[in-house]
Symmetry: C2
Subunit: 387 residues, 2 copies
């Protein structure tokens, strides 16, 4: 599947121009307000890429504020995740670990290929997420978990940091790659969020690949549903074990022009009922991008990410408090979310090309590929960022 697909027959048009907007980040610098990490035993992987100019064509290194990365930052790069949670060595075989690393690497390479060729951050994050959606290991696209009715309801969102444009779908059932439909909502409608049957009808206007229920079937996901059903029947209560929510995928990128983008996709929660929608298609919660600060894709216990508006809040702390990306991610993920009992993690990249991979869980499938570097992938929190 092409990472930058031709969207085929597009019958709907909107008039809004897609020019970059001026950015006006906050100039406040409140160094006395550094977040105190109250749980230092949790690893927060920080990466400051230090070879930003190595891959530059000399013509690319002019003084434009949108194109010159800051100190220790990458000119372009992509950061991805495949879900956070209680991911521990006891539960993964060496073969499975290798498969995760390989899938993450394939997604990073697809994104990097776009960026290296001068493509947009949006093209890069979509290319990476398409790879992750097609990989049964992750709870998104093909590997999506089952609802209580034994169906698959998928959510996805994209956001473009240039103009805060965004698109999202919730509860789609026949799309091989929901992230492509989310992008079409952004680009070919004046709306942001389409849901359920309506989103499917919108999709009918485009040549997107549709799949039947068997596309999503794996023994592991079906057994997970049966286990969840049994537990919920026994306890007669909401069964919210964290293992039902691992596996959202996402990507953030900065391109050579300094534009940021974010994309996130999920198969939801095993045995979910009532058309529950988590944080992924909620702009600001699971997905956010603004060239004024950063692009964020989140993964974890979605309800907490919605209530804390996690993705936007990290950007807001950068814009309004003058925090670095890492300071802001730590304040939100390692302090605020944990104070509320919310588990999960985020990946982010800022306007200067600094990146963050931050989780308050034992593991997060993750990786990055930055200009001039090699792809890096990791699973457990104690693996850090490979530097």
């Amino acid at each position: 599947m092409s990472p930058t697909p031709d969207f085929g027959r597009v019958v709907l048009r909107r008039g809004r121009p897609r020019e970059p907007l001026s950015t006006d980040p906050a100039s406040t610098s409140n160094s006395e307000l550094q977040p105190m990490l109250r749980r230092p035993f949790l690893v927060s992987a920080t990466v400051m890429a230090a070879f930003s100019l190595m891959a530059c064509d000399p013509g690319e290194t002019d003084a434009s504020p949108d194109r010159t990365p800051g100190l220790g930052a990458a000119e372009y790069g992509i950061v991805i995740h495949g879900g956070a949670g209680t991911i521990v060595r006891e539960n993964l075989t060496e073969e499975l670990e290798a498969a995760y690393h390989e899938a993450l690497r394939a997604a990073l390479e697809a994104g990097n290929e776009v960026l290296e060729a001068g493509g947009s951050a949006m093209d890069a994050v979509v290319a990476a997420v398409v790879i992750l959606e097609d990989e049964p290991l992750f709870n998104a696209g093909r590997g999506s978990v089952f609802t209580s009715e034994g169906t698959n309801e998928l959510d996805a969102a994209v956001m473009d940091g240039r103009d805060l444009d965004a698109g999202a779908v919730a509860g789609v059932t026949t799309l091989r790659n929901p992230i492509l439909l989310a992008r079409l909502v952004m680009e070919e409608s004046p709306h942001v969020l389409f849901t359920g049957d309506g989103a499917e009808t919108f999709a009918d206007q485009f040549e997107l690949e549709r799949v039947g229920p068997d596309w999503f079937y794996t023994d592991a996901r079906w057994e997970a549903l049966e286990r969840a059903r049994e537990r919920e029947e026994i306890t007669l209560s909401w069964h919210m074990e964290e293992d039902r929510m691992i596996g959202t995928v996402g990507a953030v990128a900065r391109d050579r022009s300094g534009n940021l983008a974010a994309a996130t996709s999920t198969g939801g929660m095993t045995n979910k009922r009532f058309g529950r929608v988590g944080d992924v298609p909620i702009i600001g919660a699971g997905t956010y991008a603004s060239n004024a600060s950063c692009a964020i894709s989140a993964t974890g216990h979605g309800e907490y990410f919605i209530r804390n508006v996690v993705a936007r809040e990290i950007c807001a702390r950068m814009e309004h408090r003058g925090e670095t990306l890492q300071e802001a991610a730590d304040a939100v993920v390692m302090v605020q979310l944990l104070d509320h009992g919310g588990t999960g993690g985020v990946v982010g990249i800022d306007r200067d090309g600094h990146i963050a991979l931050t989780m308050n869980t034992p593991g997060m499938y993750r990786g990055h590929f930055l200009a001039g570097g090699e792809p890096f992938t990791a699973i457990y929190a104690d693996e850090g960022d490979g530097r």
Copy 2:
């Protein structure tokens, strides 16, 4: 209909306690960063209630930071809206104006009754929104507009500033008062957002009043659908005239204990397709409440409110930049939203009881009822705040 209904047979329970959390607002004060209003011809109605202690029982005026309002603020109060847009005198008869004022006043009195008796901010905002949902004048509940299929899809959300708990529903079709279902999602499930048929199934577990399609039928709404259909058929393009989006209702309140809450409800957009969801059920966009800063309910062109995360952004500017509620509302509604072409308004109340009613449109149905005062209602922007 009782403004504080008995929710009847509740079969689902969750274990999470609902205690107030400690608030930790930002202490930054960046007075040099006051927003510059670039469009001074637009009226921003500001209210600083100046009689906060008049209605206090002496026992209520101790030094607890959660109970003592700041200078010029109300000990308790409610602020409501019934939609913002191109609301101009030429289009409203005197009779219609009087009907709007009467409906707004009834909602304010329902909310004030709760607050005066020592009830919670959450009870107050729900009581007010129930009144507005039952009033055919507004695009919410009974007065909801029609989708392209001639059906009615309603969205609603509530948020509790004590613990950032929230509940929302999108695309419900048989609920007389969607705001009551949103509250049940918050209180009786561990989730935040239920959609479509799933939300209806969730509702089946409670004794909420259900209605048939005729409940929502009014000649005016049906004619609006027919006009929108004709225009869209003629132009073969997305028809996004603003008059299709006027009429969301909402309320924010501060109670005697210093807790904040927000509630918003809408009938969506005339002739909407594809299960489009606007900002109302998106926590952070149309609805947000945090005791650390403020409670906000928004109304307007929902897509812009989603992309700018309007409700949370106002709270974030208070928390992170030290702005007042009015400064933050002006920066977001009068500058940021307008820069993106987004029209609408917000009502807000902050942790100290200051309020704001801010719109970048010629009108917003609105009102407030503050401790020790009288109910105030207004329609056109040039009517200000009655002080």
